[in-house]
């Protein structure tokens, strides 16, 4: 009898721990992406007797409600991902701080650039291991610069620009001037000329490509990093961002080199994919924008400096362990497998740049096959070192409501001329304060 119980207990002890991997908050749930991930799960299970990995795919559109429902019903998965900062921020407070696990297992973080590691740090602690990086840089269309008789923006960060035969710093002021010259109306006048008709614009100088809903803070990071909450938990608008919003608003309604909301949705700008339309000369966007950029008539350049400093937004997708997991050690083992031995296969599926510098050559070789014009990918690589710290995706108190209020603010600037931007910012801060106070 005792022996039988011992056998049964032994059998129970030998049961592998099941770790559930939830895919859908970011990339990975598309049908054509699933086979490769299924193969990785099979491989992991074949190599591990003590852990059984199960994968769950949920389409991106319903992933937030599905995950929140799973959490609400006590069925939270162990691991979610790949997911970026914005997707993670919606679930702020639900991720495990990996620091104790990293320390107890001796996991080596020095294999990643320091900025990429810091990018994963929030108030909850270190909630991810760097995996895929998507630095922002400047996309530009050489043909439009040629047409305007302008030099191309520099590829090297910090290098000067040659404007009207003179070297000038490649900074926000220069970008503004160049963008105005590249903004053209139907009669051929550019935005520096008095005859320019902003109601007839057919070509714009600059856009923040896809920095809309849920990502309002992306629009001012050219002016440096910042946080909307101070150390005491109060709402604030850093001076550099206040100046950034004024510049942003003037770019749309005074200088007209950035499209308004209505212009952005027009056929002239491919109904929401402005740089792809061919009617925008420069776009600040991330490496992930290569997902949706066809044609070869573009190149990469350095972002301009503000106050002598260059700041490049960094998006970093990775996998996270839910704090609700019953098996953090096993989940961490899976996490390090996904970001380690399986990373190259997964990065190929997701289209992300490996954060480990040594793995990047193969990734860019694949991109060169798609873009035969010979894009200078060193530009993308170099911008990682200028990542915005703290990240523009840092969760805020009462994050989802605060982010929604930010969206409303940006939407207002995008759509309404004649605003007092400072007054709107003050209103925003007051509203954020109420939301932050609710979270105390």
């Amino acid at each position: 009898m005792t022996a039988a119980l011992a056998v049964l207990a032994g059998a129970a002890l030998a049961q592998p721990v099941t770790i559930t991997w939830f895919v859908g908050l970011g990339a990975g749930a598309q049908p054509e992406q699933q086979a490769a991930q299924d193969a990785i799960v099979e491989r992991f299970n074949a190599e591990h007797d003590d852990i059984r990995l199960e994968i769950v795919y949920v389409t991106n559109e319903v992933s937030v409600t599905t995950l929140s429902t799973l959490i609400a019903t006590g069925e939270a998965p162990d691991i979610v991902g790949p997911v970026g900062g914005a997707g993670s921020a919606a679930f702020a407070g639900n991720f495990l701080d990996l620091t104790p696990l990293i320390e107890s297992t001796g996991y080596d973080l020095s294999q990643f650039p320091e900025a990429a590691v810091e990018n994963q740090r929030t108030d909850e602690g270190l909630i991810g291991i760097p995996f895929a990086s998507f630095p922002a840089f400047l996309y530009y269309r050489p043909a439009l610069f040629d047409e305007a008789g302008l030099e191309y923006p520099p590829a090297e960060i910090g290098a000067p620009y040659v404007l009207d035969g003179q070297e000038v710093p490649w900074d926000i002021d220069t970008l503004t001037e160049v963008a105005k010259r590249l903004t053209v109306d139907a009669n051929g006048y550019d935005a520096t000329e008095p005859e320019f008709d902003p109601t007839q614009t057919v070509q714009w100088g600059f856009v923040n490509q896809w920095a809309g809903a849920g990502a309002a803070r992306q629009n001012v990071t050219l002016f440096g990093p910042g946080l909307l909450v101070d150390e005491a938990g109060n709402a604030q608008m850093p001076d550099n961002w206040r100046e950034g919003w004024r510049w942003y608003y003037d770019a749309i309604w005074t200088h007209h080199f950035m499209p308004s909301a209505d212009e952005d949705g027009s056929d002239l700008l491919a109904a929401g994919n402005p740089f792809e339309s061919g009617n925008v000369a420069m776009a600040q966007s991330h490496l992930w924008y290569t997902c949706c950029l066809s044609g070869t008539e573009w190149d990469a350049a350095a972002l301009p400096a503000y106050d002598g400093e260059v700041t490049a937004r960094l998006h970093a997708d990775t996998f996270r362990i839910m704090r609700q997991t019953d098996n953090p050690e096993e989940a961490f083992e899976v996490l390090t497998y996904l970001t380690g031995p399986a990373s190259m296969d997964l990065l190929a599926v997701y289209g992300g740049m490996p954060t480990r510098p040594g793995d990047q050559a193969a990734f860019f070789a694949a991109l060169d096959e798609k873009y035969s014009q010979g894009v200078n990918w060193d530009v993308a690589r170099a911008h990682v070192a200028f990542a915005d710290v703290p990240s523009h995706e840092t969760p805020m108190p009462n994050h989802n409501r605060a982010n929604d209020r930010l969206d409303q603010f940006k939407s207002l600037l995008d759509s309404q001329p004649g605003l007092d931007v400072d007054a709107e910012i003050d209103r925003l801060i007051a509203d954020l304060q109420v939301l932050f106070d609710e979270a105390r």
Partner: protein, 312 residues
Amino acid sequence: MSARTALGRGKPSPLLREQRVWGWVFLSPWVIGFLAFTILPILASLVFSFTDFRLTEPESVSFVGLDNYRKLFVDPLVKVSLGVTLRFALLALPIGIVLPVALAALLDSKWLVGKPFFRTLFYMPYVVPVVSAIFIWQGVLNAQSGWLNRLLRLVGVPGPNWLDDVNWIYPALVIIGLWGIGNAFLITLASMQAVPTAFYEAARVDGASAWARFRHITLPMISPVIFYNLVLAVIGLMRYFEVPFILSNGTGRPGDSTMFFNIHFYKTSFVFFDMGYGSALAWLLFVITMVFTGLLFYSARYWVFYAAGEVR
């Protein structure tokens, strides 16, 4: 002795009992579905409305009494969103009721050539999926490149910024809404064509004009259908969501003019995960809808004419 017993129907026959059982068996999929997917969630939302239940923090749910209902009175967005819904209803409702009647009258006219073509034409948009229709209209109403403003420019009129101007957004939403009147139009037409021709012939003999015939015969005879369309339209307006949500990404743009009540409810529950307060918002919407529907049914006795001769 009751009438049932007197008629010998006090005890159902085995055949009747069997038929009843089978009736319930065949009804059971719907009944089970109704209980599981309608009644249960309704009751659950009632319970949630007395708690601070957040989807992402299920472990910290506590009973908060009437706090969520008290919050309804201090939440500025409740007032804003109800105001938006009401303002839009004042514009959309009359047009949404009158236009199907007008179109049906046009299609019912003996002078119109190609009726089947027009009938199909007016109904066809109704079968277009709503999301596709919204995206199409978003393009059509774009101030820069939209067809509507291009046409206006052709005749020298600078088109408005339909979707980003607080003064034009409601007309724009009404225009988009007209895309879906095919169903109301079709049942109104069917009702109109069911009016006995003898009424019209008698009125003609009495010298009634076309307008008098329409006013005193057609309208009363189709009033049950108008009433039906009206009830559905009011309920539809209280549920109005997809169009403004897709157009503005739920931001309420321009200003707060598209912050309809349902958008506020949706965001509270499923974006902010505040299921407790979201449930209270849902119950407020339910009560308001019931009040409006009740008022409509009460008013029906004064203007809805039923062919059986009773005015209810």
